[in-house]
Structures are given as structure tokens and as C-alpha cells.
Amino acid sequence: MTRRTSIKLLLGAGIIGMLLFWLYRRVGYSVFDIGYLEENSHLIEELAEAVIPETDLPGAKQAGVAAYIIQMVGTGELRQEQVTFVRGLRQIEGFSQRAYNRAFTACSTREKVSMLNHFEKKVSSRFPIINKINRKLFGRSFIEQLKELTVEGYCTSMLGATKGLAYDYIPGRFEACIPLSPGQRAWALN
């Protein structure tokens, strides 16, 4: 085999491999089932609470974030991201069983956070361009979906907006430059 043909073969195999992988990520696995989300609402709730836990301010559970996530993933997301989410739930459950020998929901707060950190490290590259390409080709990863949906759901819920953030329904005037008061929280968007 000449050098040239082997390069060609390698390139060809690489391209076919990428295509198959893309196809697999897109359609090749589990069928999406909205019922699965509802059956796992407790898991989703615990995941969201691990992202934004209750402190002196309300957490994701109190703010009803799980219902928001189920609604958005179930009725608003594209199929590719729906499938990614369902698959992510299964993966994190499997990971929890292997690492701690119990369900995610039964783990301690520290364990839950450490699992989420593990998932986040796994998908984020040091190179922003790689992250961008990944996102463009495959959509958001499970952990990005979970984090972004939890933040959105929390910050736009009544409890999150009015108690977690600083809420100003009708400001009435604009004060352009004022001292930051101690414990000042960011403005809710409304």
C-alpha cells in the first residue's frame, strides 16, 4: 500500500466514522418518551435542587423548577435535545449506582454536586471553539440543558424572581448610579 492510499483510507474511515457517530447521536438510540420524564419527576427535581439548592433563599424544588423542565423538554425542545435529556437522566442514574451504589436521589448533597461537576468537566473542553462546534453539531449536552433550564426556570418563577432575585415590577424611575447595598441581589428580568 502506498503512503497516499493509506492516507486516503484513513481519511475515508474517519469521515465515515464521524457520519455514523452523527447519525447515532441524532436518531440511533432510545425513542423519546414524555411519560419517562413524568415518571422521573422526582429525579429531575433532585437534579435541579442540586444545581440551585435551598439556602436562606428558596431553592429550585420550592420554585417548582422540575415542572418547568418537564414542560420545556417535553413540549418545547427539538427531538435531538429531548433524546439527549432522557439519555442524560439514564446516564446520571447509572453513574450514581456505580459510584455510590445507590440512586441519585438517595445521595448526599455533596455527592450529587460532585456527580454534576464530573459531568460538566466531561463535556467542556479547554478550547471554546471545540465547545462551540460540539454545541452546533450535537445541540446542548445533557448537563448544559439541565443547568440552563434550571436557571431559567428558577429565575423566571415567582419565587425565584421575587425572593431569589431583586424584583421591581414597575420601577417608575431610573437611578443610574447608586451604591450597591450589602447583600444586593441581581435584578429579575420580569
Binding site: 420545556m72 427539538l78 448544559e144 420601577p171 431610573f174 450597591l180 441581581a186
Partner: protein, 558 residues
Amino acid sequence: MDTIRYDAIVIGSGISGGWAAKELCEKGLRTLLLDRGRHVEHVQDYPTAMSNSWDMPNRGFNTPLYRQSNPVQSLFSNETDRQFFVADDEHPYIQETPFNWVRGYQTGGRSLVWGRQCYRWSDLDFAANEKEGVAVDWPIRYRDLERWYDYVERFIGVSGKAEHLPQLPDGQYLPAMELNCIEEHMASTLKKRYDDRILTIARVANLTRGWKHRGPCMYRNQCSRGCPFGGYFSSNSATIPSALATGNLTLRPFSVVTEIIYDDSLKKATGVRITDTVDKKQYEYFARVIFVNASTIATTAILLNSKSARFPDGLGNDSGQLGHNLMDHHSSSGAYGTHEGFQDRYYKGRRPCGFLIPRFQNLGKGSAEKFLRGYNFQGEGKRLGWEDQASSLRGFGKTFKQQLLTPGPWSVWMAGWGECLPYFNNTVKLSIVHKDQWDVPTVSINFSFKENEQMMKKHIQTTAVEMLENAGFKHIEPFDYQHPGGTTVHEMGTARMGRDPKTSVLNDVNQVHAVKNVFVTDGSCMTSSGCQNPSLTYMALTARACHFAVTSMKKNEL
């Protein structure tokens, strides 16, 4: 309909059509105002105006699924305001090249959702074509429009600050809104480091005090939902109520104008033919003068579709220029940065505007740039909030939550709004094969930015980065979103004004050269694009043309 004969017909009730209706009615003309969309009554038809995020099914967002089925509409609107934007699939158009045509089919049109920036043009803009030998000369200069700018600003109410710049004339302003800490810091940096540019608060049609029974602004920054306080100018809140108050206005929504009727023997337009979108029947209405204010692309489509023995290629199209020279500002490139200072400062209230760095290139002094014309910067300073930080903050749990809910570092985002030259090949045409549900030929758009705009976009990035560096910003990122035409929603041209009927469609008072009782005073009349947000100029041109039309009618010249 109890009468089909009026003194005047105005096609389109958006920002310029609303003005035409108000002016003509106030001057005593019985006026029919047509709009193709539904009626939107000020305040009562703003269903989301007082909603909180949690009151809405998707918390105000576009879901990915919704975005997929409405790619153009969802770029410009979301669950809070999409009732004022047409859905993509209901009103198709042909994109020969990518072009975002954003439309609002309702009483008030896009005046409900406009950006409210109000900048005057100067002779730097009006004389540019002539000076450089580009396209054709504007048939007017600043002195022709100055009093009409005054007149319009006094009615709509514009907050802003006089800056005494020859390239951006001052107007009649209500008290200006204030810059926040980081914007003040940018402003003082520019003052120290540059002698050719300043940073000022945006000049906007948001009311800083009560004005003509409207406002003041409540600083909610939810303008595009419609304002129950009348805090900003729209046809719905201001011009249409004024027109109705005269008793001379008939407002007819659900009326798609299919063509303007031209009488070959009288040598003038006699009226319009419409399709009623409710009963699907055709109606004809007649009047002495017709104002076409359907918005740039739609106006030209109506003229192109108005064919007669005299005008086989569209009403008033002797020059062959109708449908050509489409323009839109580019606003894709700029830079973004964060600043480590002012950690102990914040703001209260949601100011409905940002800042402006008026044009400072090619002003005739100093060295000329490689590109023609110029750009201004529009931008905003803020402390990052949860919406900015959700995807960049690492980690989970208590620390993450603490960071997320605390005001982040100060940031400035700014982009260059740049002039687009009039190119003959940037066109609006009617499809020969495709028709819409009203049996009107579908609009087909072919548009691209060219070398001059691309050079300007590079320059914008460089100067934006340099200014942010000089002001001590960190993590500075230049950007070029490469948005296609239409994205700034400043469509202009396609029925340009000019001195010569052989090379332009409209004369110096916006009359169709060859059909004197038809006036076009929306964005389609623009001979060049300047870099200023154009609505204020449309309004001033409209008021001026109405004055001319009524004066001529009284003299029996029309």
C-alpha cells in the same frame, strides 16, 4: 362601508402612515386609513403588557421548537410580544438570498415594536451621493426638513441631550435619561482620549415626563408588548387617536391593498382595490390623493402590482428604478468587554435604551477612511445578570447559586450601525409564479452587503476594541454576527426620491413623478441610507408631504 369616496386614502397605519392620517385629518380631509392586519386598540389590546414571566406558558421565551418553525419571527420577538409580528408560514416571501423581512400586520404596524431611536440627518448624509457620484442626488437638503423634524419631535416626545454636532443636528428634546456608571466611565474616557468622538445617551421616543396625555415612561423596558402607560410613541398611542379625534378618519383594518387604480384618461390614480381578509371580497375606494405607507418592501410591491396601459411595469415606474436599490443598515459587528471597577455601584429601574457614539468617520476633516460614509455605535453598559451568566458560570450548588443571584461584573456591548450604499442589484421583485392567499404575487428579495460595508464592519471591530481597551476593559471580544440584510429592520429604498424622473420614482415632495396625486413617504423613498435609525426622517418627510399635498389641493393643483 357607507361611503366609498374620500378626500384621501392612506395605505398602512405604521409609523409613517399614522402620521399621514393625522396630518391629513387635522387639515380637514376625510381620510380612509387602511391596514392589512387586525385592529390593535391602544392599551386594551396589549394582553401581555402587565404579565410577569411566570404568568406565561413558556415564561416569555421562544422554545427551540417554536424557533424552528418561525425562524425569522423568532429572531425578533418572543412569547411576550410575538402577537405583533407575523408568523413566517402565514406570510411567505421568497429569499433569493437570505433576507430577514420582519413585519407587523396590525393597526400601528411596527410602530408598536420599534427601537424608538430618533436621530436627525444632516447635510453630510443628504449631500453624500452627489459629492461621491453614488446613485442619484437627494432632491432635498437639511434646511428643507429641519422645521419638520422640529414639528414631529414636538409631537412624539423625544428624550435626549443636545451635543452640538454638525453631523447629528440637535432637536427638540425632553430631559435626557442618564448614563450608568460604566457608560459615564466610557464617556469620560472618550472625552480624554479622542477629539473626534463623544458618547451620549440615546435619543429615544420614550417620555421622561408626561407629554400630550401620554407617559411618562415607567422604566419597565417592556415597550414591545405595547405600553399601557403610553410611555413611548406609536401610531396606536398617538397619531391614530389624534386623527380619530378630528372626526375625519375612517380606519379600516383587515384590508389588503392589491393595487392602486390608475385612470389612463384622467392621468391620475383614482383609488385603491382591496381584498377584505374577513369576507374575502374585493372592494374599491376612491380619493383625490393617495398616500402609500405600507412599509418599504410592501409599498414597492403594491406599486409593482399596480399595472396599467400607461404603466406596464408598475405604477410610476418610468425610470425602471422601482424595486431597486434596497438598503438596510448593518449592525452585526462590534465588541464586548467586562470591567473590574465600580464593584460597589449598581442601578435601579430598567432604562429602555442604551448609549450612542455618533458617527466620527469621514466627516470631511482629518484623514478619509478606505470606505465611504460611516457608522455610529449603539450599545449598552450593564452589570451581568443571571441571563448572561447561566452558561458561563462553572459549578453547581450553593456557591454557584450565590454567584448567579449576585450582580456580576460591569460589561459594555456595542455594535456599529453602518450606512449601506444603494446598489441597483439589491432588489424587491414580484414572483411570476407564486401568489399569496389573497392572490397577490409573492415578494421576492435579493440583497447582499458588499465590499464597502464589509470594510466598514472590520473597521468597527477595530475601533470598538480600541475604545474598550482604552477604557480599561478586560476579556474584550470583537464580534461579527454576519446577520443577513433586513436584520436591523431598517429597510430603505426601492422607490427613491430624486430630481430626475428618468432616474428616480419620487420627486422632492415625495410625489410619484408621473402620478402627482400619489405620495410615498415611508422608507421606500430613501435615496441613501445614512447611518441614523430612519423612522424620525420618515415621519418628518410625511408631515412635509402632507402639508404640500393639502396646500396643492386647496390651490386646485391636485
